[in-house]
């Protein structure tokens, strides 16, 4: 097992618009390590959503390789792809996309429906995840009775349901007010710090991006620039007791809790 959650090699995506070809992704390369928290920024139409869709196996690249947990998904048939989406990917959408006629817990249970988990296990896990995102006691509430921020928390819990290799979030804070925006970013950052969840989020918002550890700039389907985010610094501080950590520490020398994936991300710049 490599330490990469995602490896993208020479991926292009060409849309045909009448006679014109749109190169939404142009020979793009990207590695994301397990436990990384990355942001993708770029102007509208630069290919951010297309990139997330290709990673999330809901869109096929025209060419190139997409390895998720070392599995090349680019050539897989639909009968295999849905399993990758179910088991390896967690989607978070700008509009939350909760099923309005299901309550919070049922929404979180959805991705587990066709798995080997029993109904009881599913319910227990959904309740646990809702507690993790700060919605203990709101399990029975339907989306329309939850605030926008709360709905996005449910969506994040749903994305975590099958313990995916990567969380893909397309402008998860795009529809939220300042307060909720900060809460959601903190939630994602905490998930990354405490549980080592690999997260790639797309945002137009520099402040949101700044909370990640790695900011990728996309332009015309290519990554043109990469920056460190503030989150990286936090990786040398124990999220539980705030004690200073050494890069090699597996456990916090102060509180003894496991601190995973805190190695400094390897920053690669693209020409």
């Amino acid at each position: 097992m490599s330490e990469l959650a995602l490896k993208i090699v020479g991926v292009s995506k060409v849309y045909q618009l009448g006679k014109r070809n749109v190169n939404a992704l142009a020979n793009l390369n990207l590695d994301v390590k397990k436990g990384e928290f990355a942001a993708i920024m770029g102007p509208s139409g630069s290919g951010k959503t297309t990139l997330l869709n290709v990673i999330g196996c809901i869109d096929k690249p025209t060419s190139g390789k997409v390895l998720i947990d070392d599995i090349d998904t680019a050539g897989l048939p639909e009968s295999e792809l849905y399993k990758i989406r179910r088991n390896k990917i967690g989607f978070v959408f700008q509009n939350f996309n909760l099923l309005p006629y299901l309550n919070a817990r049922e929404n979180v249970e959805l991705p587990m429906e066709m798995t080997t988990k029993s109904k009881n296990e599913r319910t227990a896990r959904a309740n646990g995840l809702l507690a993790t995102v700060g919605l203990a006691g709101r399990e029975e509430h339907r989306p329309q009775r939850l605030s926008q921020g709360e709905q996005q928390r449910v969506a994040i819990a749903r994305a975590l349901a099958n313990d995916p290799a990567i969380i893909l979030a397309d402008e998860p804070t795009g529809n939220l007010d300042m307060k909720n925006k900060q809460d959601i970013v903190k939630l994602l950052a905490n998930l990354n710090l405490k549980q080592g969840t690999t997260i790639i989020l797309v945002t137009h918002d520099g402040q949101v991006a700044a909370h990640t550890e790695r900011i990728l700039f996309l332009n015309d389907g290519k990554i043109t620039k990469e920056k460190e985010g503030m989150h990286l610094a936090k990786k040398n501080i124990c999220p539980y007791c705030k004690a200073k950590l050494q890069p090699a520490d597996e456990k916090c020398p102060n509180c003894g809790k496991t601190v995973r994936f805190r190695k400094k991300a390897q920053v690669r710049l693209f020409p």
Partner: protein
């Protein structure tokens, strides 16, 4: 397949299907009602056909029965010649005054009194011809012995049946200004017939239609058969004793003949009637039977020559009317059969339309539902639902919808089947020629009923149609491309 089954029974899918239906209550309700009606049609139309079929069968059976009887009556009465004293003979015999369902008899005109048919597979079934109920004849008594020569001296005469007919009733006085009239209103009519086996076994002088008990038998005395009206008038039935003009008789049978005069006529032996009414040796009419129909004219002129005082009437006019009637029935049969054929092809078309409508309703509603929920479907696929699961989900919703509709359809169908099939199908009853309707005892109604078997079939078909109509929308849903679905707002 096994997985599909597992998917389908998976509680998540089932409960979501229910919730989605209940989420759009009005829509579900409208669809269920619309579907319910199509299904009701599918149930009601076969039920209507079955009813029409059995009505036509009844009609055919009854008409041919009647024709046989008519023929028998014609043959029997062709040779019959009715003689009574000219001064008092009402109008001889012929057709019943009022063609009240079923019976020829009495004197008077042939008056067809038909009204339009009634639905429900209702078909006018002609009633019986009262074989022996040839009314007519005079009511003025004459001496029986004066006419024994008819039998002995006229060649071609095979039998003579002396008859005594006496009306019993009460007087009613009607006053117009300074004048008043007294009129006898008959309570019952006593008809004495000779109970010789040579006559009653061979010639139709006793009523043919015995509805209870038995007919009179040769050599009997002290017994009567009553009409239904008599039975009500005297308040007695078969096996009871009845007192007539102070004398007691045993009621052995009830006759159902309903010709105008026969409705009031009770029958007993000639000698009983003569003794009872004080007309010993007297009769009011003679029924003369010729050997063959060819003899009738010669015999009747011989009777007139021998006894100028007698009014002699033959069966010739009656024959032509019976033949006319036969032609009528043939036309009705042909008509009924034509209607049935038309009914079946029409029913076939209607069922096709109902089946198509049902599938189309499900198809369009489910297509609309799928379109409306594109984003939801995209989301489900993005979070890892397989095509098959999505397909099962929407198939199940369509089937559930038609299941509900099936229940409603069966309910509407079984309650409204008579109404629906009357709207949807031509009816045998209606088709019996414009303006023809048999009323009273003639109308035989075959009710449109929906049996449990038909309900079950209707229900099964509705679920199948629901599944059929859902296949394409569900397939469309399963093929939704999540990336596109997400762009679609």
């Amino acid at each position: 397949m096994e997985n599909l089954f597992r998917d389908a029974i998976c509680l998540g899918i089932v409960s979501r299907a229910f919730r989605n239906l209940s989420r759009r209550k009005i829509r579900a309700l409208l669809v269920v009602i619309a579907l319910g009606f199509s299904m009701a049609i599918m149930i009601a139309v076969p039920a209507g056909i079955a009813a029409n079929q059995s009505a036509t069968q009844n009609l055919t059976g009854n008409l041919s029965n009647t024709l046989t009887q008519t023929e028998a009556t014609i043959n029997q009465t062709l040779t019959q010649i009715d003689c009574g004293l000219a001064s008092s003979a009402p109008s001889g015999f012929g057709f019943s005054g009022n063609f009240t369902p079923g019976q020829f008899g009495g004197g008077g005109r042939g008056d067809f009194n038909f009204t339009p048919g009634q639905f429900g597979g209702g078909s006018g079934i002609p009633g019986e011809f009262g074989g022996g109920a040839l009314g007519g004849g005079g009511s003025t008594p004459m001496n029986e012995s004066l006419y024994t020569d008819i039998n002995s001296s006229i060649s071609g005469v095979v039998a003579v049946a002396p008859i005594l007919t006496v009306s019993e009733g009460h007087n009613v006085t009607v006053t117009f200004g300074d004048r008043s009239f007294t009129r006898l209103v008959a309570d019952y009519i006593i008809e004495g017939v000779p109970l010789n086996s040579s006559i009653i076994d061979n010639y139709p002088i006793l009523p043919a239609n015995i509805t209870a008990g038995r007919n009179l038998q040769a050599g009997e005395s002290g017994v009567v058969i009553l009409s239904e009206n008599n039975s009500a008038y005297f308040g007695v039935g078969v096996g009871d004793r009845v007192t007539i003009l102070g004398q007691s008789f045993e009621v052995v049978g009830i006759h159902g003949t309903s010709g105008a005069s026969d409705r009031a006529t009770l029958y007993m032996s000639l000698s009983d009637a003569q003794a009872l009414t004080g007309n010993t040796g007297e009769i009011t009419s003679l029924e003369v039977f010729a050997d063959t129909t060819d003899d009738v004219t010669a015999v009747s002129s011989a009777i007139s020559a021998l006894h100028a005082e007698l009014d002699v009437v033959t069966a010739q006019e009656r024959l032509s009317q019976l033949q006319q009637q036969q032609t009528n029935y043939d036309a009705q049969l042909a008509n009924a059969q034509a209607t049935l054929n038309q009914t079946q092809s029409q029913a076939f078309e209607e069922i096709i339309v109902a089946v198509a409508a049902t599938s189309l309703i499900v198809l369009f509603v489910m297509l609309y539902t799928v379109r409306e929920r594109t984003k939801e479907i995209g989301t489900l696929k993005a979070i890892g639902f397989s095509n098959r699961t999505v397909m099962s989900q929407f198939m199940l919703e369509g089937i559930l919808l038609s299941l509900l509709a099936g229940v409603v359809g069966v309910a509407i169908g079984s309650i409204a089947a008579p109404f629906l099939s009357s709207v949807l199908l031509p009816t045998v009853g209606n088709s019996l020629g414009a303006g023809f309707r048999f009323t009273g005892g003639l109308a035989s109604t075959t009710a449109v009923t929906v049996n449990p078997e038909l309900m079950l079939i209707g229900f099964g078909v509705s679920v199948m149609l629901g599944a059929l109509g859902s296949v394409y929308p569900a397939w469309r849903a399963s093929k939704t491309r999540p990336a596109e679905a997400m762009r679609y707002e």
